[in-house]
Amino acid sequence: MSMPRHFVFTVGDDGKTLRVEREFNASRDLVWAAWTTAELLDQWWAPKPYRSITKSMDFRVGGTWLYYMQGPEGDIHWCLNNYTRIEVESEFESLDAFCNEEGVINDKFPRAMWHATFNDEGENTMVTIVTTYDSKEDLETVLKMGMKEGFTAALENLDELLLSMISA
């Protein structure tokens, strides 16, 4: 049942793009829904023990997704996504940002352009996400933050989780 899934994680030659590819064991309409519906996003977007909670979601070109991630200590990080292009069940583009609860963007943090594409892979679905930062320095800042922002502790449990999933 649990085949090893295709998973690619690379930094582009330009040093400012990040490419993530992952295959999912579900049809494309389902995977698309999981990426574009607030109720579903809230169930998986934040890596545990963080939780993601949507305040508002307007999935159309020019619309935004305003949500926050809440850490185990109660710390809250507001995030915003601006959708700039949507081809239903095929691809979408958005611009991310950190912000306050009103959705006012904090320009002290780097922003990235996201391009997500969805392709059939037999009965499965391949998702490719390319995130592009303005500069190599921006990507570096974000990579460092990923570590600093306290995800580390959460991730120590990951190996265990993965093991239990593989043996399930």
């Binding site: 040093g15 993530v20 389902l30 998986w44 890596p47 190599k136 320095e137 990579l143 570590m147 990951l158």
Partner: protein, 106 residues
Amino acid sequence: MRRDPFQAIADPTRRAILVLLVAQSMTPNALAEHFDTTRQAISKHLRILTECELVRPLPQGREIHYSLQVKNMKQIDRWLEQFRRLWEQRFAQLDDVLNTIRRKKS
């Protein structure tokens, strides 16, 4: 001048140089033999890698040998690894969500 290490690894030739230096320290001439490029170009790449503190020049007699600064290489690796794991975790959660929906549907 201290440059950022991502600039160093952004270039394919510099990545190839780093890979060669994993095995042993090498002179610019020895490195240049592995590439279809000039000795000057290799020296320029080595200068950038040195500024980023990913390699270190060690004079040996009349030659300069370059060796990896392993600790700094590991730092880049660690950032990437943490970020990669974050995505892995996120996707494992998405797998669960998808499985749940499918079960409800069938």
